[in-house]
């Protein structure tokens, strides 16, 4: 990512036209939304003032979904229908999920990604995540009193293409316009304004409820690169609670009783742990189910002794990440704390000791990622203030390639390439008269296909008969600004061009999303048409605004008839928006999109020409 000054002042819409934009941290244990109001990023709490939403979804027999705290309460009684930590399943297959050990779910081996059989039917992780995002979207809409224009959703830096695609699909399914997927550590860095520095190496130390992630970022020449990531998917604040509960059980001679007792002890442990971040000692009264009353007490130094091993466990991956980045702890210019568990003084001390400098901890570590995402969302929505006219550049975290003979990987786009990026590679046939070629797209750093993640397989058919080696098949990878890949292939020598575009197999087609949206509306009992109309109207207002602004600035690029045609198309959108048929609005918007395509191209040419013209003549290429 990078910080770029735009030479022209941005087109800031007047305050009444501010577009509502949110940043969403879709986390493993909890999720939250934030927005920029009066120039500062703020979290959007629920109606009871709670900023966090537990990332837990419970499906009821009638098909409804309960999300958040209410779902968490039912977790113990209805584990099979209460999905926790769904983020771990995003874009993953059955074999990946098996690595997490025993889970109380009935997994279904759906193509591409696992699904979970619940009493409300089979649900994919994308649908489960969409339930969480929908709650946040509704929350934002209520708080901001309007339709949300768009959202920036964060993903871990190490998320591969299928996990990113699944996240974007979930957001679309929740009816969100995804302005950008943003890497979580980058979002944390933005929240602290680190992107305003010109150079630096930063460590983002993220100890959440159930996972630990360490990311090393380098900001050079304005681009945020991910130098290394590491972590422990089974280390988090919950383990600290566990250590305290085990200690009490021993101290009070409690038998390892059933789940209910354990949960009460864990809840008490959590309360005491949180109090000990500020106090030297804390206590709590717990009544066990068989009536026994317990007075539980803990001192901070006891807690620190009990959990010293856990803190050390986080430093192992940290060391590895630094080694991969070929850095010493002292080379790191800033350390950002993320995740609720980093509030514990012993964690902060350990980090400070390890890096030899105090970490940045002014922002709430549970909120820092969402706050950074909100800042970015605000800029992308076009709500720029003067001097706020910067641009962030991101990279792909993992290399993309193709399977070649012998199960080897041919790298097409190396990791840390600045996105968007496109690269083409040529292949040929190995048999006379070969009419089809199988193309297998993989992601990862290893040499063997088996060690990389398989993203997509497709076939290029209709290659005209030629001798082996004569065909020239060009496979093109395009990665967009969200880090999402599409692949196309064509045969170049023949006049008949065969071409195909694929999305990785985990991605949902637009039809899938439409169908799932419909299903979810019927479950939720929402007036689907009314909602669709509201969404289409926002879309219509957005494109009308964009085209109007473009006409105001560069209208001279159009011939009279062209302008008349475009204006007619705009009038149709306006007319359709005034009506109540969301399909009519949608088709009018699509027509306007097509009608404005050539104009968009010419405007871009002009922008580039302007960039070139601003230079001295003698500098321009001869």
């Amino acid at each position: 990512m990078a910080l770029l000054q735009i030479s022209e002042p941005g087109e800031s819409p007047d305050p009444h036209q501010r577009r509502l934009a949110v940043g969403i941290d879709l986390g493993t244990t909890h999720s939250l939304a934030a927005t920029v109001r009066s120039g500062t990023a703020q979290v959007l709490p629920d109606e009871e003032g709670r900023p966090l939403l537990p990332s837990i979804v419970r499906y009821l027999p009638d098909g409804r979904a309960v999300v958040g705290y209410a779902a968490r309460e039912a977790q113990a009684d209805d584990p099979a229908n209460t999905i926790v930590s769904v983020k771990r399943f995003m874009g993953r297959g059955v074999a990946d999920v098996a690595k997490y050990g025993a889970l109380p779910y009935r997994f279904v081996d759906a193509p591409g990604m696992v699904a979970i059989e619940t009493q409300a039917g089979v649900r994919s992780p994308v649908q489960v995540s969409a339930e969480i995002l929908r709650v946040l979207r509704d929350r934002a809409q209520r708080a901001l009193d309007g339709e949300i224009f768009g959202a920036v959703v964060t993903v871990p830096a190490y998320f591969d293409d299928s996990q990113r695609q699944a996240t974007k699909d979930a957001a679309r399914l929740a009816g969100l316009n995804v302005l950008r997927l943003l890497n979580e550590p980058t979002a944390a860095a933005i929240a602290y304004g680190l992107d305003h520095a010109s150079e630096g190496k930063f460590a983002i130390f993220d100890l959440g409820g159930g996972t630990f992630d360490i990311s090393i970022l380098r900001l050079t020449r304005g681009v945020f690169e991910v130098l290394a990531t590491n972590g422990d998917s089974a280390l988090g604040g919950d383990d600290f609670d566990q250590a305290i509960a085990v200690h009490w059980r021993k101290a009070h001679g409690l038998a390892d009783a059933g789940g209910r007792e354990t949960r009460r002890l864990l809840a008490a442990a959590r309360t005491v742990k949180e109090q000990l971040s500020d106090a030297e000692e804390a206590d709590v009264h717990v009544t066990l189910s068989y009536g026994q009353k317990l007075h539980l007490h803990l001192r901070r130094e006891e807690l620190e002794a009990l959990t010293a091993g856990l803190v050390q466990r986080a430093l192992g991956p940290t060391r590895k990440a630094l080694r991969d980045a070929r850095l010493d702890p002292k080379d790191v210019d800033g350390v950002v704390l993320v995740g609720g568990a980093t509030r514990m003084p012993q964690v902060q001390r350990a980090v400070e000791h390890f890096f030899g400098k105090p970490p940045l901890k002014d922002l709430d570590p549970d909120q820092v990622v969402a706050l950074g995402a909100a800042i970015q969302a605000n800029v992308l929505a076009g709500n720029r203030a003067a001097g706020d006219d910067w641009l962030l550049l991101d990279v792909i975290p993992l290399s993309l390639g193709l399977e070649t003979m012998g199960g080897l990987v041919e790298r097409v786009i190396p990791r840390n390439s600045t996105i968007p990026v496109a690269r083409a590679q040529e292949f040929t046939t190995f048999k006379d008269g070969q009419a089809a070629m199988a193309i297998h797209v993989v992601q990862g750093e290893r040499e063997l296909v088996g060690d990389c993640r398989s993203l997509a397989r497709f076939e290029l058919r209709g290659i005209p008969p030629m001798v082996a080696g004569a065909a020239r098949i060009q496979v093109t990878f395009q990665v967009d600004a969200d880090g999402l890949l599409s692949v196309s292939a064509r045969e170049k020598t023949s006049g008949t061009e065969a071409s195909i575009v694929v999305k990785p197999s985990y991605g949902l087609s637009d039809d899938d999303v439409a169908r799932m949206l419909q299903e979810s509306f019927s479950h939720a009992g929402v007036d689907r048409d009314a909602r669709a109309l509201a969404e289409q109207r926002v879309e219509a207002a957005s494109i009308l605004g964009a085209v109007r602004a473009a006409l105001g600035k560069d209208g001279d690029l159009l011939a009279k008839e062209e302008r008349t045609r475009l204006e007619a198309s705009m009038a149709s959108v306006e007319a359709a928006s005034a009506g109540t048929d969301h399909r009519a609005v949608k088709s009018a918007v699509e027509a306007l999109n097509r009608a404005s395509e050539a104009f968009a191209g010419r405007r871009m040419d002009r922008a580039i020409s302007a960039a070139l013209a601003g230079r001295k003549v003698d500098e321009v290429g001869k």
């Binding site: 770029l4 000054q5 302005l179 070929r326 600004a481 999109n593 040419d605 500098e619 321009v620 290429g621």
Partner: protein, 173 residues
């Protein structure tokens, strides 16, 4: 001038079509261009604008990536002049360079086997010097339109780069 996809990387970034490139100027030109075309500038725009922006930003990244690296820049410049450096298929080298190449390879293999970090570092320094020298010769060759000589130097540099990478890997396992 009307820029289009037919423009070469130098023209796109408003730089003279020559091997010598001022890195600071290249970077500021790249930022200026990316600041105008990047999809982030059009996230609130129409679908058509977003698509055009992605194509141009991709193009800008490609131009910057190519011109930033001297070897890629030389290769690209030669291609513009109709010379394909052909590094994968054309492995013919002058005999003296082949000899030198074998010596370096053996030295690298010996030092790697015996974990002789000092020797690897010495070899690395020697290769760095050699590379700097070759890049100077490359610049002179390209400036003088000696494209065959330029192509040959690009092939040699490609070899040096590979060997340096191997030594680097051996130094930081």
């Amino acid at each position: 001038m009307t820029p289009d996809f037919a423009h070469n990387h130098f023209e796109l970034l408003g730089l003279p079509v020559a091997f010598a490139v001022d890195p600071a100027r290249l970077e500021s030109r790249y930022r200026e261009l990316q600041g105008r075309v990047h999809p982030d500038r059009f996230a609130a725009g129409s679908e058509a604008e977003r698509r055009v922006a992605m194509q141009w930003a991709t193009r800008a990244n490609e131009a910057y990536r190519t011109l930033r690296d001297p070897l890629a820049r030389a290769r690209y410049l030669l291609q513009l002049r109709g010379f394909d450096t052909d590094e994968e298929s054309n492995t013919s080298m002058p005999p003296d360079f082949l000899m030198q190449q074998m010596e370096w390879r053996e030295a690298a293999a010996d030092a790697t086997r015996t974990h002789d970090v000092e020797a690897l570092r010495r070899l690395e320094a020697e290769l760095t010097r050699e590379r700097r020298d070759m890049l100077e010769r490359l610049e002179r060759a390209l400036d003088a339109s000696h494209y065959d000589a330029g192509s040959s130097l690009v092939r040699k540099l490609r070899f040096l780069e590979k060997l340096e990478q191997e030594i680097d890997d051996a130094l930081s396992p």
